[in-house]
């Protein structure tokens, strides 16, 4: 079932857009690209101050008890602003993992800190192009984790990580405090995402869930994060659509606005189509949270959002011509973000396969 946003949700959407419009600064974001290990502190302070970190934490643990829909709306605003801090997604993944574990002690210890923004979490599932490798290279045994996870989003400054690993030949999710882990900075094309290679050598860890339940929980967490990311991608794609539209109305060539040429005009109209289809899928997926069709809806949202953002980045730069490829134009902020987000919750190949498997299950 698709939904219409209620008044409260619409207020979250417009307020987050307003706040980010006022506080985001392109020069600051461009600066982040040129050094490693830094992140957009003003964005994170804003997120904490606005209560965005508390959105998906249960009320009993100091949160607002809201869910994917509200988080999606904030992510959309963050995506439009290319807000350079990844924690909205990764903290949410950790919140979901803690809730799935049913471990009240751990929940009491970490959820209030995640809600208040005091703690930052990372999700360390992927290895290379496998978002959930069937044979993870990290092993949990006797309360300790050993192994490696490459390119972990937010890994550079996170306080804790949820790690997809092996435990006695079964898949497992464990919680590990990163103060005890080795981290190596990944110098990336999108530095604000704080990518790090993590290495664990008998690092103390706590088992959250294992076996088939771990497999199901990890996939559910990944899908939920993918829906948040889809909203972020749509926010970025829509911002680019408007940038392209405005530029095409202003910039003149051969005596008329370039938007009067169908080669340009139709390119922009096609972007509108991609954005609206992605938006419809993302809203639908957020509304399917916890329902049987959720994985399928999340996959559709992920695929269409990735296509929309990559295409919008590609075409908007093209429409700007030479101006589009300059450092100062800032369009490359979106181009970079479109690619990093396309990878962060699993690439297109993964989601296409997952979706077809779901559809085949249905057709069988």
């Amino acid at each position: 079932m698709s939904i219409l946003y209620d008044d409260e949700q619409q207020a979250i959407a417009s307020e987050s857009r307003r706040v980010l419009d006022a506080r985001m600064d392109k020069t600051r974001l461009l600066g982040l690209l040129e050094r490693t290990g830094a992140f957009d502190k003003p964005f994170w302070d804003t997120a904490v101050e606005q209560g965005w970190t508390a959105l998906a934490v249960p009320e009993a643990q100091g949160g607002l008890g809201l869910g994917l829909i509200e988080l999606g709306l904030v992510a959309q605003a963050a995506g439009a602003a290319t807000a350079g801090a990844p924690f909205l997604t990764t903290n949410y993944g950790a919140i979901c993992a803690l809730l799935a574990s049913g471990n009240a002690d751990l929940q009491g210890q970490w959820l209030p800190k995640l809600a208040s923004g005091e703690a930052v979490a990372a999700i360390a599932f992927a290895e290379g192009n496998a978002p959930l490798p069937p044979e993870p290279r990290s092993v949990f045994a006797g309360g300790h984790l050993s192994g490696e996870k490459p390119g972990v989003t937010a890994g550079l400054i996170a306080d804790l990580a949820v790690v997809w690993c092996h435990h006695e030949d079964k898949p497992a999710l464990v919680l590990v405090e990163l103060a005890d882990a080795r981290r190596e900075t990944v110098d990336s094309f999108d530095n604000g995402r704080l990518f790090a290679d993590l290495a664990f050598a008998r690092t103390p860890a706590t088992l959250l869930v294992e076996g088939d339940a771990a497999q199901a929980a990890a996939l559910d967490i990944l899908a939920r994060m993918a829906v948040v990311t889809a909203h972020e991608q749509i926010g970025g794609a829509e911002a680019l659509l408007f940038i392209a539209r405005d530029y095409a109305n202003e910039r003149k060539a051969f005596g008329q606005p370039i938007g009067a040429f169908q080669s340009v005009k139709h390119r922009i109209a096609e972007l509108y189509g991609l954005v609206e289809i992605a938006r419809a899928n993302a809203i639908h997926a957020a509304a399917q949270e916890g329902q049987p069709g959720f994985l399928k809806a999340a996959a559709a949202a992920r695929l269409s959002a990735t296509e929309a953002y990559d295409t919008a980045a590609r075409d908007t730069v093209q429409i700007h011509g030479g101006a589009g490829v300059t450092w100062d134009s800032g369009l490359h902020l979106h181009m970079r973000r479109a690619r990093s987000l396309a990878i962060e919750q699993g690439n297109m190949l993964f989601w296409e396969d997952l979706l077809v498997d779901q559809l085949m299950g249905e057709a069988a």
Binding site: G259, K265, A280, I283, A300, E352
Partner: protein, 403 residues
């Protein structure tokens, strides 16, 4: 969705199931054209008698007085059964509503509405011409004052079901000395009147002809048949096109379902391996599904907005543009998967189940009702506010525009 709408859906489904053996896909298989039309008219009559015709029309006009949402729900349920509804789409969707809105003789219009709802009379819409396809205002069919009435000469093209129609609505040029949009007038017309000749056009795709050329040779019209102010026909024509704003959409682009493609890919092999395991095939399935689920979500959201008394957003305009192009490509891939077995062609097959028929008929879907290029222009200009195309005929009297 409200309880009322849910129970309406169940009621509609139950009725459709009860008449499906008489009028559905299986009953229509291999039926000759004349009998197909007769079954279509009997189905329309049955719908009228069961209270499912003119669902959102005023009861005074033979309708049910329900909301557009009820109509969309009924059509969504109806879509899967393959009922013979094609003959009435233009008639009840466009022509009759415009007559009801603009006809001078109200009682006469009411009688026509009831006759059309019962399937007794069919209407066509005479807009397109050989020289004016996407450019509706470029039409050349001429209407001149003639005594107390008018005289019509010229030719229309692509007129859906003109060969079965009793009446039509038509737009013609009454004054070539003013700018092209200003010299047009709108009428209704008796399709059996002297001087009207209908000639069906055989299309590249299979099936019986459903579009026609229509010729007018000194056809007489009374002034009572006029539906717009003299010279004010373009506005009325635009209102006509807007009348049927919300209709059931089909995210498949009126082609086969995703499940049909998955079934084919399970059976077919590519280089000795199951096609369903081929990455190219899987990618096509996934992308197509994601596009279709997006369109479905747009429609569901629009219905909820209507139910809540709100105006749906403009994104509904995407449906035809996106879905038919995608159906065309998916049909090509399906024929690839069938290889030389796909070269066989089964005339009369439905484009909802048959990939070859779907592929053959797809180009029509990208042209009829606004070509892709016009839809992109509409999105760019009306929704995004981009500049209009350069139109050198703007403001120029029609008879001074180089032909």
């Amino acid at each position: 969705m409200s309880e009322d709408l849910d129970s309406y859906r169940l009621k509609a489904r139950a009725w459709l199931q009860s008449v499906a053996p008489t009028f559905g896909k299986a009953a229509l298989k291999g039926v000759p054209e004349e009998e197909h039309l007769a079954m279509g008219r009997r189905y329309q009559r049955a719908k009228f008698e069961a209270g499912f015709a003119g669902i959102h029309w005023d009861p005074e006009l033979g309708g049910q007085g329900l909301t557009p949402l009820h109509k969309v729900i009924f059509e969504q349920e109806e879509m899967g059964f393959g009922m013979p509804i094609g003959y009435f789409g233009v008639s009840l969707g466009i022509s009759v509503p415009v007559v009801l809105r603009f006809a001078q003789d109200r009682e006469w219009a009411r009688e026509r509405a009831v006759a059309a709802l019962r399937g007794d009379e069919i209407w066509c819409q005479l807009f397109s011409e050989p020289s004016g396809g996407s450019d509706l205002a470029g039409l050349r069919t001429k209407v001149e004052p003639d005594g107390n009435g008018w005289k019509l000469n010229g030719q229309k093209l692509w007129t859906t079901f003109a060969q079965h129609s009793h009446y039509g609505v038509i737009i013609a040029r009454n004054d070539p000395t003013v700018a092209k949009h200003k010299g047009l007038t709108f009428f209704w017309l008796d399709m059996k009147a002297p001087g009207v000749t209908v000639r069906p056009i055989k299309l590249a795709a299979a099936g019986s002809p459903h579009v026609n050329e229509v010729f007018f040779d000194d056809v007489k019209l009374t002034d009572g048949q006029r539906l717009s102010p003299v010279g004010g026909g373009f506005g009325t024509a635009m209102a006509t096109l807007m009348i049927e704003r919300y209709s059931a959409s089909d995210p498949t682009g009126f082609g086969p379902t995703t499940a049909t493609f998955v079934d084919l890919a399970r059976e077919a092999e590519v280089n000795g391996r199951p096609a369903i395991e081929d990455g190219r095939v899987r990618s096509a399935i996934a992308r197509s599904y994601a596009m279709r689920s997006g369109l479905e979500a747009i429609t569901t959201r629009a219905m909820k907005m209507m139910a809540a008394g709100m105006e749906p957003g403009p994104e509904g305009a995407l449906n035809k543009l996106v879905s038919v192009r995608s159906r065309q490509k998916l049909s090509e891939l399906a024929i690839d998967l069938m290889g030389n077995l796909g070269l066989a062609w089964h005339p009369g097959a439905s484009s909802k189940d048959d990939w070859v028929e779907s592929w053959l008929a797809a180009p029509t879907g990208r042209i009829a009702g606004g070509a892709d290029e016009m839809l992109l222009n509409t999105i760019a200009e009306r929704i995004l506010g981009l500049p209009q195309d350069h139109r050198p005929d703007k403001g120029v009297p029609f008879n001074q525009i180089p032909a």
